[in-house]
Structures are given as C-alpha cells and as structure tokens.
C-alpha cells in the first residue's frame, strides 16, 4: 500500500509541479500574484473538454488548442496586471481574486456545475511490475513534468533569454538598468506560463474531474510549491511538488481524504510564517 502511495504521490506531485511552474515564473519575473492561476488551469481543461466533446478531437490534439487559448488570455492578463499600482503584490492578489471569481462564475455559466471528464481510456490502462501498478496516466504526468522542468531549466540557464529572465527575477531594477526590457520579460513569462497552464489543463481534465470551483485549491498548491522552492529556483519546483504530493498521499492514507485540504493549508501557512523566501533558497542579504 505504501508503494502505491509513493507512486501516486510522485505522479500527483509531478502534476502539482507543472501547475506551479507557470505560477512561479510569472510571479518571479513580474512580482504579480495571480490568484486565478488555478482557475486558468481549470479553464484550459474546460477548453480541452469542449473541443474533445464538441469537435471530436483526440486528447493529444486538445493540448495545442488549450495552449493557444491560454496564450491569448494570458496576453490580456499581462496588460491588466501592468496597470496595477503599488503595492503590487497585494493589489495583484486582490485583483486576481476578483478574476478568479469572475472565471469561476463564467465557467459555472458555460459548463454548469456538473463534473466533467475527458475520457481517454489509454490513460487508465497501465503496466504491472512486481505487483505494483502504474497507469499510463501517471507515467505521462511524471514524464511530462520532468521534460517541462528540464526544458525550462535549459531555457533559463543556457539561453540568452533565460539569462535575461533570471536577471529580471533576481533584481528588476538592476536588470532594467542593464538594458533588459522588463516589460517584454513579463510578456515572455506570461507566455511560458500560458504554455504550462495549457499543458496542465487538459491533463487535469482527463485525470481529475473538472468542476468550476476546482481552481482555488490548485492555486494554493502552486503558491505553496513556489514559496517552498524559493523565487526563481526551477529545480526546487519539482522537489517541492513531489514532497507535497507525497505528504498529501500519506495524509490521505493516515487521516482520510477529507483532511487533505487542511494538511495543504497548514503547510502553506507554516511556509508563510517561517520561511516566506523559500526553504530551498538562500536567504537574501
């Protein structure tokens, strides 16, 4: 039973990291908290569901559609966030809170509160190794998130764009003085974020049930992992995601699934109180 928990914990954790990636990048570069991040993931899931159901696209084809839709949406969001005044972090939380409510109700209107699922039977099939069963869905999650993290890490450390992004994350003013266009960096961050969200959404819709109010939990998870990893640290996102996934799986076994949300909440509060700059990251000066 514990091995199953380990596996599901890592798979779940990989999924969480994917969700967190977009959030962490956007927050790191623009310092805007997007509390509607989870809603965007759910929305991407709904978009995928819609084209799957309405146009008969296969699951794989829904990914590009979802990414494209989120791309457009994120561009609009970037403009909205750029209109905010100081204090940016607080104002962005409040505004995106309003956005989350707007999106939730929008999705409620468009898709009703019924639980929706993108049926892709291949994902529930799996392999059995030494009495341990792994579904293709879980394998996809782990592989996809590792690939995404790997690519992101490559981008951030081996390309000029990545260096510019990292500079902006570390010190916006300094980066601007060094000639980096921080506004464009913000756009890039939202763009990459849209990519991550667009990938996570359809996955969410095929592995979890979609319902309009699912977003907030996802956002809190993304925030938790981001704070744990420390702003701007990419590899920490995978570690954080896995840890969170494992802790949750353990909690489900020990306490039952209804205590899951309380455990996540306590972890987030503990991180906020004791280490807002991240556990893995170094303390700033």
């Amino acid at each position: 039973m514990w091995i199953t928990a380990l596996v599901s914990g890592i798979a779940l954790g990989s999924f969480y990291s994917l969700i967190a990636m977009g959030f962490a990048l956007i927050f790191g570069v623009t310092h805007a908290f997007n509390l509607a991040h989870g809603e965007l993931v759910v929305l991407a899931g709904y978009v995928a569901y819609w084209v799957w159901k309405g146009w008969g696209l296969s699951l794989v084809l829904t990914f590009p559609v979802a990414v494209a839709a989120l791309f457009c949406l994120c561009l609009i969001l970037q403009r909205l966030f750029s209109l905010l005044r100081e204090p940016l972090e607080l104002n962005s939380i409040v505004m995106s809170f309003g956005l989350a409510i707007l999106l939730q109700n929008g999705m409620l209107f468009a898709f009703s509160g019924d639980y929706r699922l993108i049926r892709a039977p291949v994902l529930t099939e799996g392999v059995h190794v030494n009495g341990l069963s792994l579904t293709y869905g879980q394998i996809t999650l782990v592989v996809l998130s590792l690939v995404a993290i790997g690519l992101l890490h490559l981008l951030m450390h081996q390309t000029y764009l990545g260096k510019a992004l990292r500079a902006t994350i570390q010190d916006r003013e300094g980066a601007a003085l060094a000639g980096i266009n921080v506004r464009v960096m913000g756009l890039v961050a939202f763009g990459i974020g849209a990519l991550c969200i667009g990938l996570a959404g359809p996955l969410y819709g095929s592995i979890h049930y979609l319902y309009p109010t699912a977003g907030l939990q996802a956002t809190l998870l993304a925030v938790t992992i981001t704070i744990f990893a420390g702003v701007g640290r990419i590899r920490g996102l995978i570690v954080g995601g896995w840890l969170l996934g494992l802790v949750e799986s353990a909690a489900v076994i020990l306490l039952g699934s209804s205590w899951r949300e309380l455990v996540s909440a306590v972890i987030l509060i503990a991180l906020l109180v004791f280490r807002p700059r991240g556990i893995l990251g170094r303390e700033e000066g």
């Binding site: 607080l90 939380i93 409040v94 956005l99 989350a100 109700n105 209107f109 209804s258 987030l268 509060i269």
Partner: protein, 326 residues
C-alpha cells in the same frame, strides 16, 4: 490622493442626504414592499451582508486584507447553532457567544500570522479557512459533519412588558432586528475610528515604520482590529444561522462569505465608514433582482468584475470617490 478628513460619521452637504434617505427607506421597507416576502428576504440578507462588510473593513481599513473571513463567519454560525441545539440555550445568549468563538479563532490566527503583512497575510487567511472548515466537516460526533445542522431555533421572542414579539416567525420582525443590528454596527465602527485606537490603526496602515517610531505598538493594535473584526463577523454568522435555521459546512465556510463582504468593502470604500454598508445595500439587491434571474448560474460574476474594476480604476471605492468631490 484621498480626502483629508478621517472617516467620520459627521455627514455634511450631499453626503448627509444619501445615508439618511437610505435609512428612511430601509425603515419603511416592509410597508413599501407590501406583500412580497421575497423583497424583505433579500434586504434582510443585504443588511446582514452589510454588517459583514463593515466588520471586514475594520481589518481592511487597518491595512490588512483578509480573504478568509468565512472562517469567523462559520465558527460563529456553528458555535451558536450547536449551543442552541444541544444544551438548548436561547439564541439571545448563543449569538454573542458565537462572536466569542470567532474571537478565539482570531486569537489563534493572530498568534501565528502576527508578523505577516500584505499579500502574505492575505494568502495565509485564504488557506486558514480550511482549518475550521475541515474540522467541522469531519467532527461528525459534534457537528453531524457534512449533513449539517437542521431545525435550529429561529430568532427568539422579545418580551417588553406586556408586549411580545415572536421575531423568529415574523419576516418583518426579523428584518427590523437585523436592521437594528446593522445600525449598531455602523455606530460601533464610527466609534472605533473616532477613538485613539482608530487613529493608531490609520497611522499604522499609512506608514508602519513611522507609526512605530512615534510609539504605536503596531502588532498589538492590528491584532485588536483582527479580534474586533472577527467577533462581529461571528455574531453575524450566528444571526444568519438562526435566520435560515439550518447550516452545512460547505455553506458558511464558503468562498462566498469570504469574498462578498470584502468586495462590498472595496467597492464601497475601504477608507470610509459607510461605504461597505452602502455597497452591500445597493449591489446585493441588484444582483438578486436583476442578474440572478438572468443568469441563475454564474450571476456572481458581477462581484468579480467589480472587484477588478475597483482595484484598477477606483481604489477608494465608489462612496469614497463620491465623498471626495466638492
């Protein structure tokens, strides 16, 4: 730049007309509404939301944004509900006690979140709701879990000499009770901002470092404003539960009761006294009478949209902007 005066209940000029007229209208409402019980119900709920918005703003105007006030609402609701159900105590007693339970929860929150500011405090409050919610949901022995509490006693009767009013069974009487409570809350809030505590909270909100440098114990006063805000929210929660006579965890701890009062406070005016209440009394009926019939699912998008607009274009709220103009 915001208006000079501290939030004052001293209403001069056009400021005076609107709240007074509104109060008059509210007092006369049961007679104006005639036979429509629905109108009365909507405005009763609007008044309750007004008290929630006012209570939220005690913390809001001190500079802290809470996204999880439903925690206090729910604890007050369940506290009062349970005490009135099992030991069978009178709601006159259990409603204030509900407020007390909420205050105790605020003490716990305050102890952990004392040093948190701004966005991080907001996040903590958002997560914090889960704690009482999940506990309530799972402690089935005490709270019947997700089945909720049903058959709660309604608002109790009021006996003044030979005159007895069964408030619980009369929509009109319930309405006047909630209206009176709302007026009391308005005066409490006004009193707070006139006092030195209010001055300290405003100073701490404006410039925390300078406030400390002139002798204000910022952490302690913020804590006090949290307690006050939580207590009043809990009392409102208790009243709510005796109005509807039933409750489930998913309802009283829902995002609705965290978000809507906060949105009313921000739309009305974070730096005013009446703003939150006015927003509640205008927006909630508009939502219920206009948008709800049009969009039975998703009509609350209005609140989300208004919040976005207010944050971007009108941070002082509508009433705040109105009071600024000469």
């Amino acid at each position: 730049m915001e208006r000079a005066a501290p939030p004052k209940l001293d209403l001069r000029g056009p400021d005076r007309a609107i709240p007074v007229l509104l109060l008059l209208g509210l007092v006369l409402l049961p007679f104006l509404a005639g036979s429509s019980g629905y109108v009365l119900q909507v405005f009763t709920h609007a008044l309750l939301l007004a008290t929630l918005a006012l209570a939220w703003n005690i913390l809001g105007a001190s500079g802290s944004v809470s996204l999880g006030h439903a925690a206090f609402f729910g604890v007050g609701a369940y506290g009062s509900g349970l005490l009135s159900l099992k030991p069978g105590l009178s709601p006159w007693f259990t409603i204030p006690v509900g407020g007390l339970f909420a205050a105790v929860l605020a003490v716990v929150m305050g102890l952990f979140c004392r040093r948190l500011r701004g966005a991080y405090f907001a996040l903590a409050t958002l997560a914090f709701v889960e704690i009482p919610r999940v506990v309530t949901d799972n402690w089935e022995g005490l709270t019947r879990g997700s089945l909720g509490l049903v058959g709660l006693p309604g608002l109790p009767a009021l006996t003044l000499g030979p005159w007895r009013v069964e408030i619980g069974s009369s929509a009109g009487a319930s309405y006047y009770l909630v209206l009176s409570y709302a007026v009391v809350v308005v005066f409490l809030v006004a009193l707070l901002w006139e006092s030195n505590l209010g001055l300290a909270l405003q100073a701490a909100r404006e410039e925390e470092t300078a406030a400390k440098a002139v002798g204000i114990h910022v952490d302690r006063y913020r804590f006090l404003s949290l307690l006050l805000s939580a207590c009043l929210t809990g009392i409102s929660g208790a009243i709510y539960v005796h109005l509807t006579r039933y409750t489930v965890p998913g309802l009283v701890y829902s995002l609705h009761f965290s978000a809507v009062p906060m949105i009313f406070a921000m739309c009305g005016g974070r730096f005013t006294i009446l703003g939150p209440a006015l927003a509640a009394l205008v927006l909630y009926p508009v939502d219920q009478f206009l948008f709800h019939p049009l969009l039975p699912a998703g009509h609350e998008f209005l609140y989300g949209l208004l919040l976005i607009l207010v944050v971007l274009f009108m941070p002082g709220g509508f009433w705040g902007a109105l009071r600024r103009s000469p």
